[in-house]
Symmetry: C2
Subunit: 359 residues, 2 copies
């Protein structure tokens, strides 16, 4: 029997509530695929930062490098600025493990209320493929005339050919099993070096995939199309910043921002990939047992798919969709009265009976 | 009688149809305020670029520097890349005339269909104040290892204290006559030099306006709030790139992207300001007499307000709102059958009778 060794980082706030619940679902689903898990816990978090001055130990990456995957909850704690958790944990892992794809599905599901008028479940169904290692997220820059009226700051964005090509190829490979339609997010009219280069590489990589439909939109009008024409898209490839924007806007448009999953993926599998929901640590509702575990559970399904366990991944996704559509066990953010544990139990109960009974 | 001398730049495509119609409305409204116009036309456009290799003459800015305002249609022509019209016309005017504010109203109007569920006319009503001169729109950058596998490109963003402070103060002054609520768009968790600096200046300028409500959101979640909670906002201040995104997304959310106006404003009035609709030159429908003139007319109202003609500006805006709510003279993009000219006539007819009769 295959055993997957997983680094579990619950993080802060509701991360500590939804991660153990998602582990229960993953354990149940493992019976479908006939595999098992070996979980190792790490207390890396903003809470740890507040106590020790570091999000993770200095040799953190070495400690988890040989794991099959990383299962992350959420980081964020009142009083600890966001950039600490980003630059002290997320970015070192994303870059250190060459997780150069950030993947987020955007899907309008039955039972989930979209803020848009007149859209049917299934009519919106696309992926945002975000470049996750370089681009606009750089620490290069500085300040001139500190404290004076003439003060100015500069920031450098860097796009490499290797960085563009590999994430674009990932997008095309993903579209291969779908509608073979890839959309590129750009802003080459305003941003005159990096974005024309992005367009150039998109044109070059597109040539490797004859027969695919390709298009590109400037990011301003693309966000407008997310609202007006979200049914146009299949796979969208975007830079680190534009992908960050689109992968929050997309879930907002289908009403799923509280339940959306995400993966930080190393497609070559030479390092572990990391799976985490889109939502944050929600300190306001932490500790009350009311947090919605679906984003974490769905991220677990993405992790299984990445590990090659398609049957178990699909079973979890179907169970989530069934429970959402039934609407009888939902947490209060979705208009229900269930707690974290009851919603999780409902999802486990909706798995194929072999898995659910054994759980 | 005050005479305003206006530089008229219809540009390309439907710009040539909607600008003259908007001039008719402005002429009619001038009777309300008891002022007149002196119009001078310029053929600056992508069409001119295609013929002569330049969007405008070398001394273009000098030719229009003494005008009271610039009334622009739309630039863009099949075969001429966007960055040509931007860097050959829009950016030189925006920067040369210190039009450091790009102002766009976002308002849900009766008679206009929003893609969002359950929103009442008037319930969404805010301004996007975009920094219009510096930031991410820079021409500074370059390429290393041209054509090789190691190829990379860099792009520098520059934010000055003067540039941040003046646009932020404009936002607070605008909020003074409204709900005194200013929201800042940031991304200081990911973009580690310019955006923390933006936050620092926003905190400093906020202190100059005690009693105002202020908040800030990272651009990713802010775009989500545009869809989920557009009623939260009063005035939003954003960098050049983030403002560009928000001022397309905002109109999309209220269904007005085809009719939304915009101003490139020099608040000190030491150089002319420029007013132009959000929509483009729409080459696909150009020459057919079916283009919607409202964005251009509404931009004309913004121009009048900037010139101090509040009564005439308000009268045009009210006429637009009345005609939209009546829904009997709309162009086909709004579900009607009227042409450009009929819709314009309806708006002129809806002006206070003194103005409409004289027209
Ligand atoms: C045409 C384009 C370059 C321009 C911009 O990004 O500034 C437009 O989107 C705008 O908002 O005025
Ligand atoms: C926490 C934040 C810095 C992060 C990012 O921008 O990458 C988040 O928004 C995300 O999308 O994972």
């Amino acid at each position: 029997m295959t055993t997957y060794s997983i680094a579990v980082i619950p993080g802060d706030g509701i991360g500590n509530e939804v991660v153990p619940e998602a582990q229960r679902v993953l354990e149940a689903a493992s019976r479908i695929g006939g595999f098992s898990f070996d979980w190792t816990h790490y207390d890396w978090s903003c809470e740890r930062f507040a106590k020790t001055g570091a999000m993770m130990p200095a040799d953190g990456l070495a400690q988890i490098r040989d794991k099959d995957a990383i299962f992350l909850g959420a980081v964020g704690f009142p009083g600890v600025p966001d950039h600490v958790s980003l630059w002290g944990l997320l970015i070192p892992i994303r870059r250190g493990f060459h997780q150069y794809v950030n993947l987020r599905p955007v899907k309008l599901l039955a039972g989930v209320e979209s803020p848009l008028k007149g859209r049917e479940p299934g009519s919106i169904d696309f992926y945002v493929v975000r470049e996750n290692n370089e681009g606009e997220y750089s620490s290069i820059g500085g300040r001139l005339y500190d404290g004076l009226d003439d003060e100015l700051v500069m920031q450098q964005s860097i796009f490499t050919r290797r960085g563009c090509d590999r994430v674009m190829r990932y997008a095309f490979e993903l579209a291969k099993g779908r509608k073979q339609h890839v959309t590129s997010a750009t802003k080459s009219n305003g941003i005159s070096h990096t974005m024309p280069y992005w367009d150039e590489r998109f044109a070059a990589i597109s040539k490797e995939y004859p027969g695919f439909t390709t298009d590109q939109y400037h990011i301003d009008i693309l966000t407008a199309h997310f609202v007006r024409n979200p049914d146009w898209f299949d796979v969208i490839v975007a830079s680190n910043l534009f992908g960050d924007i689109l992968s929050d806007l997309g879930p907002a448009v289908v009403g799923s921002i509280g339940i959306a999953p995400g993966g930080n993926i190393n497609p070559e599998k030479d390092y572990p990939s990391m799976f985490e929901p889109v939502h944050g640590s929600a300190p306001d509702i932490a500790g009350k047992g009311v947090a919605n575990p679906i984003g974490q559970i769905w991220s677990g399904a993405m992790m299984l798919r990445h590990l090659g366990e398609e049957a178990a991944a699909g079973a979890i996704e179907k169970a989530i969709e069934d429970v959402l559509a039934r609407r009888d066990s939902l947490t209060r953010d979705l208009g229900g009265t269930a707690g974290t544990r009851e919603l999780t139990d409902a999802i486990i109960g909706a798995l194929p009976s072999s898995a659910a009974n054994a759980a």
